[in-house]
Symmetry: C2
Subunit: 345 residues, 2 copies
């Protein structure tokens, strides 16, 4: 037989079920049964079909299949986040990997959809509402996002990553932001620190609120003072600024819990500028466990999030949801965090 033509772009038309059936001397229905693993096929027919499939290089046409089954076997991961930074963060990467693993194992494909701007929303709504995906994993970190409600309305099985602050009652998977923050602050207290400040994140989404709540939890009956709470926007700069403010307002502080590693890095710089030694004068704990945390001087004690596991759980939950929409199940799933102690506290 002749070698496959080397000419790129000349796509030999792909064989159809019909052709496989002809080659295997059986009917289209039998080939379909073999392809889909039906037990109702004789060993001989099965063998003949398998040979034909192998020989002709048959791959099922997904469009035709979807048309009749009303499934696409693909799950959309919608990233509704204007900030570019999502990709730089291990958070996103971990979720993609976890979800990808789980979905691949179930024979589904991950379709990545970005909704960066307001205008993208329409496109995404139409895409999902139009049934291009069987289900949705939604990464929407900020407050008043219309997409959750839109998906709920369209009746598309949806799982949200990160507990939504309010709104649509969709199932979610989140990490234990509150518990992680509590652990971090408790650890600082156990180390004998008494004036524990915090650089909190923005309070317009759940993680920011929860991490601040965790801080309060840990302080418990002890009084905490307003002057020991500053707010940042997760970035390094904002952390540096916030730390400078804190030092001014409460010069006697001896520990800081920053709600992100980047803010912790900023805080580190502000502390250095102010001549405070870390951890001797001021102990510092971050949140996220970025690679960066190992590279600072001193290396950062921080709270690690199980991002891969989160992606995996989101995927597995949405698959279950698509399978049996009405089975009883918990609305949310909270995954534990872990305190990683290094040199900064």
């Amino acid at each position: 037989m002749a070698v496959t033509s080397g000419t790129a772009g000349v796509r030999r038309p792909r064989p159809t079920l019909e052709e496989v059936a002809a080659y295997a001397q059986v009917s289209r229905a039998t080939v379909s049964r073999v392809i889909n693993g039906s037990p109702r096929v004789s060993p001989e027919a099965r063998a003949a079909v398998e040979r034909a499939v192998e020989r002709l290089g048959y791959v099922a046409n997904s469009a035709a299949r979807s048309l009749v089954t009303q499934r696409t076997d693909s799950i959309a991961l919608v990233v509704s986040e204007p900030d570019v930074r999502v990709f730089a963060e291990p958070f996103f990467g971990g979720i993609v990997r976890g979800a990808s693993q789980e979905l691949t194992a179930a024979g589904k494909q991950l379709v990545l959809i970005m909704a960066q701007s307001e205008g993208d929303r329409d496109r995404v709504e139409r895409y999902v509402g139009g049934g291009h995906a069987d289900a949705v994993l939604l990464l929407s970190l900020h407050g008043a996002d219309p997409l959750p409600a839109a998906f709920a309305r369209a009746g598309v099985p949806t799982v949200i990553g990160g507990r939504p602050l309010s709104g649509a009652e969709l199932p979610y998977v989140d990490v234990d932001n509150r518990g992680g923050a509590r652990d971090a602050v408790s650890y600082l207290l156990e180390q004998g620190r008494t004036q524990v400040a915090t650089i909190a994140g923005p309070q317009d989404h759940c993680a920011g609120v929860d991490r601040l709540s965790g801080y309060r939890d840990a302080l418990g009956p002890r009084r905490y003072r307003r002057s020991l709470i500053a707010y940042g926007t997760y970035g390094q700069q904002s952390g540096e600024q916030a730390m400078a403010d804190l030092l001014e307002r409460g010069p006697r502080l001896d520990a800081v819990f920053a709600a992100s590693d980047l803010m912790a890095v900023g805080a580190l710089r502000a502390l250095r500028k102010a001549g405070r030694r870390v951890p001797d004068d001021v102990a510092l704990v971050g949140f996220d466990d970025l690679d960066l945390a190992t590279m600072t001087e001193p290396a950062l004690t921080t709270v690690r999030q199980p991002t891969v596991e989160m992606g995996r759980q989101m995927a597995s939950l949405v698959l279950a949801l698509a399978e049996r929409p009405h089975a009883p199940r918990a609305r949310g799933l909270i995954l534990p965090t872990e305190l990683v102690t290094r040199q900064s506290a």
Copy 2:
């Protein structure tokens, strides 16, 4: 009219072309024409159809459309890279964003496919070979990957990100690694440095080789000594180790070009340990321009890669390729890098 039922999971069957046609009192063909923007429709018919579409919330069924058009309007981004780290890097994120922008503008969807392990390859090959995507953007950083050849064989329009070291003659888009390295080293020489060392990356893929070539280019007729070249694996640790080696082999060196920012950070640490001041005693330049580069002390002078632009160009090239496979065009596209000077050199 009644409010939409709040019961999640109860998907009202989506309206079909047929129903829209009935509602608008025209034929299926006319609705199709309106949907697809044909000019051969009277204003009245168009208006009636648009009203019906609006009213019924019609969204075309993509499976049915694909079945007849033989297009899926989705482009696969295949990440063939076992290393988990891809996601943490701005490289990947930039490409995704650039490609996503460009494809969205062209009405295409980005389908993300991960091929982490050897076993995934089969799955991916079948997926793409099976025509689930109209074209492929391939991110395959390491040497002997069978996927490029497989896609070429299948005749699927494919663009590779990063110039392949060898193998299949597929079109590619890359950043000017060689030129970037050359610029960095030239800059060091212009600053009066005479003993310029380099920490090169792995030589099993193109970027690593090119950055080392750029180093050699800049040194030009000047002799460079083997003892001033060390190799790392892009990671921080490897950079620290390589720097320590370099200091041992060539204690008089007064500048270092590291082929990645992470290695530069490692080098920074090694230099500090050795008591060398940066940039006073030893000037240091990295490559990548990670966020990290602004956070070190001193901040890192480094080479920035136009990753978003690269994603955009890859997408636009693959779209052109899918459109007119045989139009004459350059095989590769090299995008310029930019030297960002900060404090380390």
